[in-house]
Symmetry: C3
Subunit: 276 residues, 3 copies
């Protein structure tokens, strides 16, 4: 059964997500709809980039991913459909795909041109759902859009290396449900410059000179739970998506704070990695 | 595959929604269940009315919509099933359907009478799921209830026009995920009285004398983003559901406030439209 | 169609839940995935116990329930699969199943041993989804794990009776979406000790000497709504899951407080029942 995923900033209280699902079932009875996230911060393309990048690759080839974040069509912001890594993406050309496309070259990009003369006030239903239906029925992208060759990119989405090749400058791109702090530094980027050198990760007041393999790595399980200490819970690792994460073992951000509040780090804050 | 939608005030943390889904799958293996919203404010019939009205019409004909808001059966509050606009609704007779029924006459209404002698403590499963199963298997409403002819209505759910026909008095009925303020004034109602006159929409400290076609209408895209100005983001329009909405372009209520907080408007607040 | 349910503390904003669903669809195209809850408080095994216990029994026999709460494998915390009451559970051996297993003896428990040498950083996908796929394809538990005979239990999860058999000491285990306070005292436990005696339920400043049958029991519906009084809304009952609950009729915790805030009760607080 073909799969369509939905990623939006519409929240789960409004009727919008259900309206899209109803319209998709009208378009194709047998589709399987999966929510990726509807809790993207309003109009936050970087957050949406990170979420869709790490979700899509777990789905079967041929899945269609609709992204409804900042999707009103304006002169700045055109609707596109992209075929990449055997997956389809339908979204606005606002940089959301650039985090994926920086690693995997798109096979095809089209600027959607099935719009009526008056712009739609609910493009997710009037445009994106129609395009998804077209793709699910085996239609080609050229039928619903004009091929283009480049995608808009997002500022700050990629980490930088200095000229001396001894400092990476990255940014926080996401705070997860446990309050852990995700940066835009991928393991492959880090490894390419580190070689065999020692390193120091710095972000505001915290420093790490080792990276661990799992969230519980710092814990000495031979000690009784109360003697294991709070310091041992602080850690940095490459998370399951391959991004450098500054974390706290078993943190509960609602009760006693997570890495974000304890380390004082927010999205877009700078982190540096010095190679020594 | 038949569709059952769910609209409740149960939230997504409790087990209640999953229990209903499990019971529905036991009732009929092939049903497709779609969440409309489980974040309705507790016992808020007006919010539920607005959400289900704008969701249901996007679903295929024959869909069954279960609404579990204020659904404990009491002497004031009887369980009903309604067939209207080729859709089935199962809910309490507490005004939730009145927003839909004010525009589209129900074809059939029954007061459900399959209850045991002791009232159920979880009527969604013991009554609504059973009724949904009956309908999905092709059963008629008369088998599970006694036909009635009128539905309870809700106060404040409809806007009023004054005797001189030059002022509409409406109310805020919903604040959406972006903080935008939705009123109960529909385009058809507004157009019927406005004719060709000028108008002024007033709500607390804000006034609008034009209605735009899309959220970005006020923006001059020939200017660089930083020069487009904050005032240009304030707007009033008929939203994709046809209701008058007082909005702010690209607002993020979590970070710098949305229309609701910036205009100082809450559900049930009055808005007036004067025709000049 | 086989059913897999998901219960996690991952929240609905992150990509994690969607990643698990994608992986499950890759594992088996025809599976039906149902969310139980993703809003479990981080690492809160007691909350997870209560939620999964009251959800699973509404699902068809043969359903597979994946629980991703506190599921990183450590020396303290091994992965298990349990067959019990014709349902399968895949989780960590951290007490989550003990609330169910205290009433219904497991037919089979295995400690999962399909792990690679390096521990997985995302065990839900690398281990739990694989085990679910194995079960859905008809595989036996012995193939993916080593039979064990006992489950870890959780402190405070069961109420206690004193030596004189005239006082039950229980605890609050959950606050629901309406702010109602759920305790760990089941009707069967209460009835077994009460016999025909009078009783008094006490928790902080509130006392109840009667238990009602429904949330609206205290309301005199012959009076007009404004004369029905606030005191009549306070009640104690056995909820639809059979647990003693201290509640308020039609409470809205977001606006004017629910039982939890008005009675001053939080998870793990003590409640006593004296038989007189």
């Amino acid at each position: 059964m073909p799969i369509v995923t939905l990623t939006t900033d519409f929240g789960l209280r409004d009727h919008s997500v259900a309206a899209i699902k109803g319209a998709l079932y009208k378009e194709m009875d047998t589709v399987r709809i999966v929510d990726v996230s509807h809790e993207i911060s309003p109009f936050d393309n970087i957050e949406a980039s990170y979420i869709i990048k790490n979700a899509y690759r777990h789905f079967p080839d041929g899945s269609v991913h609709i992204i409804g974040v900042d999707s009103e069509q304006t002169p700045d912001n055109r609707h596109i459909a992209v075929f990449l890594d055997n997956h389809y993406f339908i979204c606005a050309n606002n940089g959301i795909i650039s985090l994926i496309a920086s690693e995997i070259k798109p096979d095809k990009i089209v600027e959607i041109n099935i719009h009526k003369t008056v712009e739609s006030i609910f493009p997710m239903i009037d445009v994106f759902v129609k395009v998804a239906g077209h793709i699910l029925r085996g239609g080609t992208l050229e039928v619903i859009g004009k091929p283009i060759t480049t995608l808009k990119t997002q500022e700050l989405i990629e980490p930088q290396i200095n000229d001396a090749k001894n400092r990476i400058i990255g940014h926080v791109i996401y705070i997860d449900n446990f309050g852990n702090v995700v940066t835009n530094v991928k393991k492959s980027f880090f490894d390419a410059y580190r070689k065999t050198r020692n390193f120091e990760v710095k972000a505001r007041h915290v420093k790490f000179d080792t990276l661990v393999e799992s969230y519980s790595s710092g814990i000495d399980f031979t000690l009784p739970p109360k003697k294991r200490g709070e310091e041992a819970k602080k850690l940095a690792l490459f998370n399951s998506s391959g991004y450098l994460e500054l974390a706290i073992y078993k943190s509960n951000p609602k009760v006693y704070g997570g890495a974000s509040s304890l380390y004082g780090l927010q999205p877009m804050d700078t982190i540096t990695i010095d190679f020594l």
